[in-house]
Amino acid sequence: MDDRAGYSRLAGLVALLAGAVIWLPLFHLLFVENPEVYRTEAGIPPKAKALAASHIAIWADEAGSRAEIEKMRGRNAEWDFMARSFFVWSLANMALREPGSASATLPIMDRIIDETVRLERDRGPFFFLMPYAGSAPFRMQPVRSIFLDGEIALMMGLRRLVSEHAGYRAQLRERVDTMVERMEKSPILCVESYPNECWLFCNSIGLAAIRVSDHLDGTDHGDLFRRWVETAKKKLIEPKTGLLLSAFTLDGDVMDGPEGSSIWLAAHCLSLIDPAFAADQYLRARQYLRVRLAGFDYAWEWPRECPGSGDVDSGPIIPLLDLSAGSTGLAFVGAATFGDGEFLQGLHAALELGGFPIRNRDRLKYAGSNAVGDAVLLYSMVLGPAWDVVASSLSRSSSALPAASGSHRLLPVEVQP
C-alpha cells in the first residue's frame, strides 16, 4: 500500500515536472505577434489605430471617458500632462504617416494643446506638477519648469510639422527662447523641472523641441547641442555603466543615477541631437536594463550596478521579476527608435501577456496600463516620420553635428552580448 502511494506521488511529481518543461518554454508563443501588427514602415499599424481610437474617445468627451484621466491625476498630475503630450506627438506622426487623416487629427491636437496651455495659464505651473514642486523655490526665477516647456513646445512643433499654425509659431518661439536662455545660464546646460532638480527626461525632450523649432523656423542651435553633449559626457555620466544620470541639481550634483524611466526616452530624443551618442546610450541601457525571460522582454528601472529606490516614475516594481512598468513602457520607445526588432517583439509579447488588453470593436486599451501608458505605447508604434522630416533637413544644413538617421528606417545598431 505504501509502495503504491509512494509510486503515485513520485509519478505525479515527474509528470508535473514534465508538464512544466513542456509548457513554460512554449507558452510565450501564444502572445508573440506578427511585427506588422505594431510596426510598419508606412501607414499606421492596426494596433496603433485601435489604441488611438480609445484615446480619441477620451478627448471626444464620451461618457465616462475623461474619468480615465481623473483616475491618473489622483496618483500623479504629471501623468495627465504626459498623456496629452504623448498622444499629440503620436497624432502628429500618424498624420505624417497618413496625410489623409490630418484633417481629422489636427483639430484634436489643437484642442489638447489649447486646453493644456489654458490650464497651465489659469491654474499655474504647478497644476501639472507633483505637490512637492511648491515645497521650495525654483533657483531660476521666475518659475518655469522644463517639464512643461519642453513637452508643450514639442507638441506645438510636431503639430506645425503636419501643418503650419500661426498662433503656435509665436508660442513655440517663446518657449524655445526661454529654454535656451536658461540652459545657457546653467553650469550643466540643463534646466530645472522641479526646484533645483534637473531631469534628463525633461531636458532631452526640451532639446528635441529646440531641434524641431530649428527645422521649422530656420534657426540654428547646433552649437548649444554640441556643448550640451560635451557637458553631459563630462559631468552627467554614471561611471560604472556609462549611462546618463536621470536627475541632478542645477550645479550637476547627482540626485538619481541612471533609470529606465528616463534613459529610453532620452536616447530617443537625443537621436535627433547626436545620433551616435544616443545609439551608445540605447545600447548601454539595453545591456544593463533589458531582461529576457521565457520569450518575453521587460526592463528594470535600475542597473544592478547602481540600484535605486522606487518612486512614482518607476511605478510599482513587480517582486521577484523587478519589472518596472515605467521603464518597460518607455523601452518600447527606445526599441522602436533604434529598430531593435527582437527586443520590440519580446516587449509586445510581454504586453499581450501582462498588459491585460481589452478589445472593444475597433478600440483597444490595456487595463494593466493607464492613459499615459497607452499613449506611450501608441507613440512607440507610430514614431519615426517626424524625426525623419527634421533629420532630413538637418542633413542638408551646415550643422556641425551629424544628422540623425531616419529613426523608423532602423539605425544600424549592433547589440553586444
Binding site: 503504491r4 509510486y7 503515485s8 506521488r9 509519478a11 505525479g12 511529481l13 509528470a15 508535473l16 514534465a18 508538464g19 512544466a20 513542456i22 509548457w23 513554460l24 507558452f27 474619468a67 481623473e70 483616475k71 491618473m72 491625476r73 489622483g74 496618483r75 500623479n76 501623468w79 512614482v312 511605478g315 510599482p316 513587480i318 512598468a325 501577456l353 501582462g354 491585460f356 481589452i358 487595463a367 494593466g368 496600463s369 493607464n370 501608458g373
Partner: protein, 97 residues
C-alpha cells in the same frame, strides 16, 4: 463550509497525484480565473501600473481585487496547463495502481 478546502480539494475526490486529481485542479484554477474575469476584475489590473482603479489611491479593496485578478490569471495561465499536461502524461504512461 471551508472554502479553502473546497477550492484545494479535488472535485471528484480523486487523489492529488492522479490523472483525475491533476485534471480537477486545472479545472478549478480555470474556474477561479473565469469568475474573476466575468466579474469585471480585469479593469482593476491598472494597479500594476500604480493607478487606482477608482481614482482613490487609498482604496485598498479595489487594489486587492486587481491583484486577485492578476494572481488567478497567472495561475490559470502558468499552472493550469501544467496540471493538464501532467494529467495526460500520467494517464498515458503511469502504471495503473
Amino acid at each position: 463550509m471551508n472554502i479553502w478546502k473546497t477550492l484545494t480539494s479535488s472535485l471528484s475526490g480523486a487523489p492529488v497525484c492522479s490523472p483525475r486529481g491533476f485534471f480537477d485542479r486545472a479545472v478549478m484554477l480555470l474556474i477561479l480565473f473565469a469568475l474573476c474575469h466575468f466579474a469585471g476584475l480585469r479593469e482593476y489590473t491598472c494597479v500594476i501600473s500604480g493607478t487606482s482603479p477608482t481614482g482613490d489611491p487609498a482604496d485598498i479593496a479595489a487594489n486587492i481585487l486587481g491583484l486577485a485578478y492578476f494572481a488567478t490569471y497567472a495561475l490559470a495561465l502558468l499552472l493550469a496547463p501544467v496540471f493538464l499536461i501532467a494529467s495526460i502524461l500520467l494517464r498515458l504512461f503511469a502504471r495503473p495502481s
